[in-house]
């Protein structure tokens, strides 16, 4: 249970980062981890609560107190086992998860003092890869059942790995040239180096998962054929239709969805593309949307040496600390956070409503906005109209739902928000399941992995059907 009372003696140590001035010149990861001694001290701060709100706050239900304690005791090998129990890819979440666990940590009642859970998670899994502890775990027996997973994002991969370990033969279909989905092409290398994704994919393959890259279901393969060929199909295609900005001038050149920009950037960094289709180099860049994708755009633009970067957000500026009346502990606090990207430079404004984009020769040159009230329905504040130079406008306002082609081919029902209707992961079409953002709508990577795992359990149970195969594979995915 950590060290008795350590939380009173030791302060939280934030995750170390490379200095912004240095890191903007490369694409290597900017987050590092604490030296072992300090890390164990941070593990010691965990109090092993009777009701661990962190464990509840974590969508995956990570056994956080258990592995915090194991890190404190320098028992990394066992910590890895506990970590893998609930999380197939801790190296993804340890890098990319916003850590609702820390917001819910009991020490966070005293705001700003949560146990550094995310960092501990990352250290465990980094150490494990270094030590060679993470090896393929092929199933002992094969069930003879086959499953097709469409999409190789975190949901699809988690689902594939769980089902494969339960003994089923799994094939993952990915339309891009490499696996990982947004992990590979949406998130920049300086947040997650692609080798990190690649080695996991290799583990999956070595365990017996077949990865079919560059095959787009719905185009290259008809979805119904897939459904006929496999005993079960899992749709993990994500929520990839971006939210658009219906203002005059939207059609101008230089106005792009964030993913168009980030995909290109990632391919250039990966060396598969020489010239990015969209570039920020030397431009005045406006990023519309204050979320993580927006931040990734800002940071990428820095690395391209944009002339200026401005991030604008529709919502008003949140309070600097947790508003107890709105989002009390242990809820995720709606408070002001400054992204890593803005630490590297750039401006941001809150409560901004974009009114128009204007330009010359079909290319955007200016953005026109006004301030709004900051709260729905975001009424404009008179007399605040302004215009700013804008040579690249990136729309990072989130996603509205899954792409529809495959869904239409299969005829799966959708909910009013456009996501696949699959309350218990099974869609309206027998044998077709859905997981991840495609089912729950745009969300965090931890949810994606959790969806993948739980969907795997649903598929496994469905495949077992009348008890065709014994409880063992079900047990394997029960964790």
């Amino acid at each position: 249970m950590g060290e008795l009372g350590a939380f009173m003696k030791l302060n939280r140590a934030e995750t170390p980062e490379r200095p912004p001035a240095e890191r903007v010149h490369d694409h290597r990861e900017f987050v590092t981890t604490l030296p072992l001694v300090q890390l164990r001290e941070q593990g010691a701060r965990c109090m092993e609560c009777g009701v661990p709100f962190c464990h509840s706050g974590c969508p995956l239900g990570n056994l956080i107190p258990d592995w915090n304690d194991l890190v404190y005791r320098d028992r990394f090998r066992e910590a890895l086992d506990q970590l893998h129990r609930t999380n197939n890819f801790p190296e993804f979440t340890g890098r990319l998860c916003p850590a609702p666990c820390e917001a819910a940590c009991v020490l966070e009642i005293d705001e700003g003092n949560a146990v550094t859970i995310k960092q501990i998670e990352l250290s465990i899994v980094n150490r494990a890869w270094e030590e060679g502890w993470i090896v393929p775990q092929p199933p002992a027996e094969r069930s003879g059942r086959t499953v097709a997973v469409v999409g190789s994002g975190p949901a699809g991969l988690a689902c594939a790995q769980q089902l494969n370990r339960a003994g089923h033969l799994v094939t993952v279909f990915e339309r891009d040239e490499a696996g990982g989905g947004l992990l590979r092409f949406g998130v920049p290398d300086f947040k997650i180096e692609k080798q990190v994704v690649e080695r996991r994919l290799q583990q999956l393959c070595a365990e017996g998962v077949e990865l079919r890259l560059g095959v787009e279901v719905g185009i290259d393969v008809d979805a119904n054929e897939l459904a006929a060929e496999y005993d079960a199909v899992v749709l993990a295609t994500g929520s990839r239709v971006p939210r658009d900005l219906p203002v005059p001038g939207r059609e101008l050149g230089g106005v792009h969805f964030a993913m168009e920009y980030l995909y290109g950037q990632n391919r250039v960094v990966a060396g598969t593309l020489a010239v990015p289709p969209v570039t920020a180099a030397g431009k005045h860049v406006i990023v519309i949307g204050g979320g993580d994708t927006g931040a990734d755009c800002v940071a990428s633009a820095h690395r391209e040496q944009a002339a200026s970067v401005t991030q604008i957000e529709l919502l008003g500026e949140p309070p600097p600390s947790r508003p107890d009346d709105l989002t009390p502990w242990p809820l995720w606090p709606m408070k002001l956070r400054t992204s890593y990207a803005l630490k590297e430079g750039g401006e941001r404004s809150f409560a901004i409503s974009t009114t128009e984009l204007s330009g010359l020769f079909g290319r955007v040159e200016q953005i026109h906005w006004c301030r709004n009230t900051g709260v729905p329905p975001f009424d404009p504040v008179a007399g605040t109209e302004e215009a700013h130079p804008a040579q690249l406008v990136l729309l990072a306002m989130g996603f509205v739902g899954p792409e529809t082609r495959v869904l239409d081919q299969l005829g799966v029902e959708r909910n009013p928000r456009g996501s696949i209707e699959a309350a218990a992961f099974a869609t309206s079409v027998p044998g077709v399941f859905a997981a991840g953002d495609a089912r729950r709508g745009q969300s965090l990577i931890v949810w994606a992995i959790d969806e993948g795992r739980r969907c795997a359990r649903a598929v496994d149970t469905w495949l077992a059907g009348d008890g065709a195969h014994a409880a063992a594979p079900a047990a394997a995915t029960a964790r």
Partner: protein, 1506 residues
């Protein structure tokens, strides 16, 4: 136990009684009527110990046993009567109806004829119904004497025949006939009477011709008023004051013994008397049944008693080898009948009394110059001229007090025992025949298991938590892990986790009617020694009887089990029975397996096996283990039924047990020893994995075994049981959630009241675990079960992240809609998977109820709420005061807990808030309890048990006792505080009555409450509480409890409040006691729905602890015992306390939300006033919408049954208890002290006192305290001298400025809670005995005294100065356990002490005059060091001895003072280590010499807190 089906939860099997008892004997042996007269007078003076039911004239029972008054019968029956001794008189209770009576009489006559004795005739026993109460008179049997003439050669043979006749007649007549006595030596008159009614009701007793040389008399206090004439004492040989805790086991073992009983004395007649024990009898009746057999079969009465109630003999060097040999030998014949028992006995020739090993009942005797010996529960029952008294004494633990009328003298204990112990060479027999396990040759090591450890762990349901939470700490600390904040997980039967069978069994524990034992500080009476082998004929004694294999510890290591398995010996033969079944047989295989196991056991026994090993070692891929508890209980009860149980000991070899509770259940259901092999292997694994640094596997296993043995002792001691043989097979558990069929067959006689699962579900559970293990990969991780801490995939917890945060958000932001969401979530959860109340639904009327605004307002309902008893110390000052302020704002009640209260809180704050707790708790530690504390209460609550750990005590380590806490608890900073498991002034229901009386004196305006914890039989105890005069009873559920406690107690002791409350309501209504007492319940109450369910089940009021704590910020860290509470609640750390963010508003908000929810339900129920909800169980029903529990066989019908009572019987409190203080002597004292109290004018007076004057000084102290606060009056302002024998609690709560001098002697509890006054006790000037050699005061003197001084010229009884925290005392000798749990103050003993002096003594100093240099061996050295008296102390001691001489005229003091320098060298200073350290830390804190109590001021306390 009764066989009649019980529709409600009330079961007469759980009745208890306790009593006043006395005997009078004439040493000359000459029968006189005066003996009878004296006895009747004596018991009339014990009447305050008895009780009355709802009908005040009907007593619980009184009776008298005398010698056959020959002259009396001769006068009546004339010459046809044979010579004395050649005829017998039998008292018979016969049917009133003439026809039925004739039939029964014919059966008696037939039996007489069948045994070839001569029927002389019948005599109507005259009775006068005017002397019986209404209820008693309505049920009075026809009482007749049958006179039988002897045809036998001698009187002993005649007695045996009479026994046979009685048993034959009883068996033939069944319930129609009760024979209180049938003997040629003794005669019993008894009935459902009060003691004073006895003589009037039986005119025989006042007939001067009714002569006897001895008379044994008894007045009964039963916990309820279920009418019975038969249950009055005395029985044929004994009268009993106390309770046999091990009864179920004793009965089972006796039944098992019957098949091999044989004695020449009875010959073929023996079969006619079987069964020996009459089913349905009380514990006393049962004891009497067996004693009678032993005596008639040829053992002397002392011998038989020494067998049945052996004293603690192990490890004692003050007992002779012969005597120790006697006990060791007889332990092979019979387990002890364990419990607090004072047994008075007589066979008409000798008369005496004995106390069990714990010595927990009072008994005082004296001998006069003119040849009378009188013994009674109290001193002073008969007036005696002081000059005529030659000796006085008290019953002592384990000692026999025996008067032999033939020898005309009191025979000393040592002499009797020597006589008995040397009848045969018992010690030599044991020496030559008993084998110790350790002496057996080493056996070959077992084969290494074929299956990987991990799979076997999965097979037996191991979880990650077993390793981390249970086993690792067990091995590290040699002690079971500790947790806190109660248990909010589902009952086993409602859990989806398929818990192991052990979890369905709830440990029972002692409360009120018998005390638990402190197994740590009173280890001298405890033993884990067990034995296996076969027992022989109980009625014989031969060397072969000693052929038992003795095992020092019932938890066997693998090597020890192999020694047993491979035993090669001409006596011992072992056989291993496989307790697994083939997996392919599936669910049905379990039942087949059980049959096979029992059959194999039979065959093994037939082949001469006497060590039966039940083993699941064969479990593996193909075989499933039978739950070990099921296998054990099945074999045990099967062999009991077969009558072969005594031929073998049962040893369990199983992978399943791994906790204190699992092993306790195995032993409780018949295992003599357990080899938990997988637990041991797992410990080795933990060592290998580096989880137990610095331990070898051997060491880890040894520590775990030690820790479990310690836990076992604790579990046994909860029920007041001291030894493994007494616990073995005693089945002291309640099954919750098992089907009737399963229980009846395999757990026979275990109470089980809500039905539940059967073999099928148990098999499913075992198969599910098997499937988890096979197939699977060997390194698969163990599952996480989330039992001790919440885990998402684990066991459900009612307090979980969702409910906690919803509640906090609701009260902080005042959002009713958020509270509704909280409540919905909790109630839905409750229904789905947690609680019994969740399975119920309201029966809403079809008319839709009434409009909400017709329902009484929430502000009225909240007045019924109180917060739980959490002490300052367990929670922070901030949290404690927040709760108090909140409850005072809403008119509810907060509770001090057992930690006292800072007097600054008695005055209101400037803003009008009050931090004063309305309820002042009085717990076993009596911390902070003094006259001022009592005077500032609205309610005084006696805590008999607490939900988290009923039957256990507590401990606050010295480092947590800071200056503030010490000041509030009136103890010394830095000195650890121990709360004993029992209240040392409550060993029985009549003691509770006394404490209630004491508290009434301490504050006549406060209501008195008794807190009980739900278990089977709690309703009967509650009835006793009502009859003892309490105003209020709290039934606490097992789930609640915020305190730290061993994990097995949190999870496995006690039952849900729904069961306890319903049983209480049913029992109180049935006995027409409900109307005079408030009933409260608590235990995980969270919502308005919970409150309404509680009301409908019978609660007037409700208590909440966890929920209000959560409202103030508690997040269920469950680290309360670690002082690291991060929200500043359960911590004393000043930094953490700063984090406390709770506000009274939050708590107020919570209670109003709850009340509003309750109102809405009331509106739908159509009940406008809350009081009209109480007891309306007809408005509740089982919820059929929830299928799951029905599928598991749960049946709520008994829980939801209405009491069997008239329809208009009150269901709630409607009237006050009858006033009890009216005749108190104190009113006279208060009257005489009127001016002293008003203006401090000194007053002196002299008055007479008698043992019926109880708690003298209590009301007076209250009057002084009210007028003058804690400081009282200047020393010596009020001085009273009292002459005579004082009743119990003389000088209780005595306030500063009052001095009482008693010339005479006193009973128990002198100076209880002494609060600054001065007491002096001395014998009369003309006493005919030397004071220093005789008893002047009884047991438990100065219990919880906080200040003042007391002087005793003479010897005091057991537990002198127990838990004294500030008083100074001088005494001339004490009994066992002197200065136990003392935390402050000074005790000077100018004489000899008993054993176990200074046990649990953490503070204060004792000075013992050790003239013969033997004191050290009677002292418990665990917490104290012995030192010479230094110069500093010499002055203080001398001052006390001088004062002793001045106040009592003690010649001992005079002698000591005369030779002071020499005497100084003989004094041993008993110095607690803790205290010494603390004094070193607080040099400014002098040793208290008994000044007035002090309080720390607000400014000081703030500083202390900072």
């Amino acid at each position: 136990m009764t066989d009649r089906p019980t529709r409600t939860l009330y079961d007469p099997a759980f009745e208890h009684d306790a009593c006043g008892v006395a005997f009078v004997a004439r040493l000359s042996g000459e029968p006189t009527h005066e003996t009878v007269e004296r006895a009747l007078r004596a018991v009339a003076n014990l009447e305050h110990r008895g009780a009355q039911g709802a009908d005040p004239d009907t007593g619980d029972g009184a009776g008298i046993l005398v010698q056959i008054p020959d002259a009396f019968f001769r006068a009546q029956l004339g010459p046809r009567l044979p010579a004395a001794g050649a005829y017998a008189v039998g008292t018979c209770f016969l049917p009133d109806d003439a026809e039925r009576r004739a039939r029964v009489e014919a059966l008696v006559e037939d039996a007489v004829a069948a045994e070839a004795q001569e029927l002389i005739g019948w005599r109507d026993v005259p009775v006068d119904l005017r002397f019986a109460g209404t209820t008693a008179a309505a049920l009075v049997p026809c009482i007749r004497h049958v006179i039988v003439g002897s045809t036998c050669a001698d009187q002993d043979a005649f007695e045996r025949k009479l026994y046979v006749i009685r048993r034959l007649a009883e068996k033939a007549a069944g319930d129609e006939l009760v024979v209180p006595s049938l003997s040629s030596r003794t005669l019993v008159y008894k009935g459902m009477l009060t003691a004073p009614q006895l003589a009037g009701f039986f005119p025989d007793l006042t007939d001067p011709r009714l002569e006897s040389a001895l008379a044994l008399i008894h007045s009964r206090f039963s916990t309820n008023t279920f009418p019975s004439w038969a249950l009055a004492h005395p029985y044929r040989l004994i009268a009993h004051n106390g309770e046999i805790n091990t009864l179920r086991g004793n009965v089972n073992w006796m039944r098992a013994r019957e098949s091999q009983l044989a004695t020449e004395l009875f010959g073929d007649d023996l079969e006619k008397v079987l069964p020996v024990i009459v089913e349905g009898g009380s514990d006393t009746a049962t004891f009497d049944n067996v004693l009678e057999l032993l005596v008639l079969a040829g053992r002397s009465l002392p011998h038989a008693l020494m067998m049945m109630i052996p004293e603690a003999y192990e490890g004692r060097d003050d007992l002779s080898p012969e005597l120790k040999g006697f006990y060791a030998f007889h332990q092979c014949l019979m387990e002890a009948w364990d419990g607090p028992a004072a047994i008075s006995f007589t066979d008409g020739r000798v008369i005496g009394a004995t106390l069990d090993r714990n010595g927990l009942r009072p008994g005082r005797w004296y001998e006069t110059a003119d040849g009378w010996v009188v013994l009674a529960s109290e001193t002073g029952v008969l007036e005696e001229a002081p000059a005529n008294v030659v000796r006085k004494g008290r019953l002592q633990p384990g000692k026999l007090f025996l008067v032999d009328l033939a020898e005309h003298r009191i025979v000393p204990d040592a002499e009797v025992k020597r006589r008995v112990a040397t009848q045969q060479p018992y010690a030599a027999w044991v020496e030559s025949e008993t084998v110790r396990l350790a002496d057996l040759p080493e056996a070959p090591a077992p084969d290494a298991p074929a299956e990987p450890l991990r799979r076997r762990q999965l097979l037996f349901g191991y979880a990650q938590e077993d390793m981390k939470v249970m086993l690792a700490p067990l091995a590290l600390n040699a002690e079971e892990a500790v947790g806190s904040m109660g248990n909010d997980t589902p009952l086993a039967v409602l859990s989806r986790r398929k818990p192991l069978l052990y979890s369905y069994f709830k440990q029972m524990f002692a409360q009120v009617t018998n005390p638990p034992i402190d197994s740590i500080r009173e280890a001298v009476v405890m033993s884990v020694k067990a034995s296996v082998g076969s027992e022989r004929n109980l009625l014989d004694e031969t060397p072969e009887h000693a052929r038992q294999l003795v095992i020092d510890n019932p938890i066997l290591r693998d090597s020890e089990l192999e020694q047993l398995r491979h035993v090669r010996h001409d006596v011992f033969k072992s056989h291993t029975v496989d307790t697994t079944w083939p997996v392919e047989e599936g669910v049905d295989g379990l039942s087949v397996a059980l049959d096979r196991i029992c059959l194999h056991a039979d065959l093994a026994l037939a082949a001469g096996t006497n060590i039966l090993i039940l083993s699941d070692r064969d479990a593996g891929p193909a075989r499933v283990p039978v739950p070990s508890l099921l296998a054990t209980a099945a074999v045990h009860n099967h062999l009991v039924r077969e009558g072969t149980r005594l031929q073998t000991g049962i040893v369990v070899e199983s992978g399943e047990p791994r906790s204190v509770h699992s092993i306790a259940t195995l032993i409780g259901y018949g295992a003599a020893a357990v080899n938990p092999y997988l637990m041991l292997e797992t410990l080795a694994e933990l060592v290998e994995l580096g989880w137990l640094p610095d331990l070898t596997a051997e060491q880890a296993q040894a520590r775990a075994v030690k820790g479990i043995a310690k836990g076992l002792l604790k579990t046994m001691s909860k029920m007041g049981i001291s030894t493994i043989p007494s616990y073995c097979g005693a089945q002291i558990f309640e099954a919750v959630g098992l089907s009737e069929e399963l229980v009846e067959r395999h757990f026979t006689h275990t109470p089980s009241r809500i039905g539940g699962i059967g073999l099928r579900e148990l098999a499913e559970g075992a198969l599910a675990r098997h499937a988890r293990a096979y197939p699977g990969s060997p390194d698969e991780l163990l599952p996480v079960i989330g039992l001790y801490a919440w885990r998402r995939e684990g066991e459900h917890h009612q307090w979980n992240p969702e409910t906690i945060s919803l509640l906090q958000h609701a009260v902080r932001n005042r959002r009713p809609e958020t509270f509704e969401e909280y409540s919905r979530t909790v109630n839905a959860d409750s229904a789905r998977r947690s609680t019994l109340r969740g399975l119920m639904r309201f029966r809403f009327p079809e008319n839709g109820g009434i409009p909400l605004d017709e329902v009484e307002p929430a502000s009225e309902i909240v007045k019924r709420f109180s917060t739980g008893a959490m002490s300052l110390g367990s929670i922070s000052r901030e949290a404690h005061e927040t709760l108090a302020i909140a409850m005072n704002r809403i008119g509810g009640r907060s509770n001090t807990g057992e930690g006292g209260e800072d007097p600054v809180r008695y005055a209101p704050d400037e803003n009008g808030d009050s931090r004063r707790s309305a309820i002042k708790q009085v717990a076993s530690g009596r911390f902070g309890v003094n006259a001022y504390y009592l005077a500032n209460a609205d309610e005084l609550q006696i805590k008999m048990a607490q939900g988290a750990k009923p039957g256990e005590g507590g401990q606050l380590p010295g480092h947590k006792v800071d200056r503030y806490i010490a000041s509030v608890r009136l103890t010394t900073p830095g000195v650890g505080l121990i709360s004993p498991p029992p209240h040392h002034d409550i060993y029985s229901i009549e003691d509770l009555k006394q404490l209630i009386y004491d508290l009434r004196c301490g504050n006549p305006d406060a209501r008195v409450s008794v807190k009980l914890v739900a278990e089977v039989g709690v309703g009967t105890v509650a009835a006793g509480v009502a009859k003892a005069g309490a105003d209020h009873v709290l039934i606490s559920g097992h789930e609640g409890g915020t305190g730290a406690s061993p994990v097995s107690s949190i999870l496995h002791a006690g039952i849900p409040w729904e069961l306890g409350l319903a049983e209480t309501q049913q029992t109180l209504v049935l006995n027409d006691l409900r109307s005079r007492i408030w009933v409260q319940t608590d235990g995980q109450l969270k919502t308005g729905r919970d409150v309404v369910v509680a009301a409908l089940l019978g609660a007037d009021e409700m208590g909440f602890a966890t929920a209000p704590l959560i409202a103030t910020g508690c997040v269920m860290m469950r680290a309360c015992h670690l002082n690291t509470c991060p929200v500043g609640i359960a911590t004393q750390d000043p930094e953490l306390r700063k984090r406390f963010a709770g506000k009274p508003e939050h708590v107020v908000e919570f209670f109003f939300f709850v009340a509003e929810e309750a109102r809405q339900i009331m509106a739908r129920l159509g009940v406008a006033r809350f009081e009209d909800l109480v007891g309306r169980v007809d408005l509740l029903d089982g919820d059929d919408a929830i299928a799951e529990w029905r599928e598991r066989g749960v049946d709520l019908s008994r829980l939801l049954a209405r009491a069997e009572a008239p329809p208009d019987a009150p269901l709630r409190r409607t009237r006050a208890q009858a006033p009890s203080l009216g005749d108190a002597l104190d009113w006279k004292l208060v009257d005489k002290a009127r001016t002293a109290i008003a203006d401090g004018t000194p007053v002196q007076a002299e008055l007479a006192i008698a043992n019926t004057n109880r708690t003298v000084g209590g009301i007076l102290s209250n009057a002084v305290t009210r007028a003058h606060g804690a400081a009282g009056l200047p020393p010596g302002t009020i001085r009273f001298t009292l002459r005579g024998s004082a009743g119990q609690s003389f000088g209780a709560w005595l306030a500063p400025g009052i001095e009482l001098t008693l010339v005479g002697d006193a009973n128990d509890y002198v100076g209880k809670g002494l609060s600054g006054g001065v007491l002096a006790l001395r014998p009369p000037e003309d006493a005919g005995f030397r004071a220093e050699e005789n008893v002047i005061a009884g047991n438990t003197i100065l219990y919880g005294a906080t200040a003042g001084r007391a002087f005793f010229r003479g010897v005091a009884g057991e537990r002198f100065a127990v838990r004294n925290s500030g008083a100074s005392a001088v005494v001339e000798g004490v009994g066992d356990h002197g200065c136990e749990y003392m935390t402050g103050g000074v005790t000077v003993v100018l004489g000899r002490t008993g054993r176990n002096f200074a046990a649990g003594m953490s503070g204060g100093v004792a000075y013992v005059l050790d003239e013969d240099g033997t004191f050290a061996q009677r002292c418990n050295h665990e917490l104290v060091g012995l030192e010479p008296v230094g110069e500093d102390d010499a002055e203080a001691v001398r001052a006390l001895v001088e004062e002793h001489e001045r106040r009592t005229g003690s010649p001992v003091a005079a002698r000591v003072l005369a030779g002071w320098d020499a005497a100084l060298g003989l004094f041993v200073k008993v110095m607690p280590h803790d205290y010494k350290r603390a004094l070193g830390l607080h040099l400014d804190h002098p040793v208290s010499t008994g000044g007035d109590g002090f309080y720390i001021t607000e400014s000081e306390s703030t500083e202390a807190a900072a």
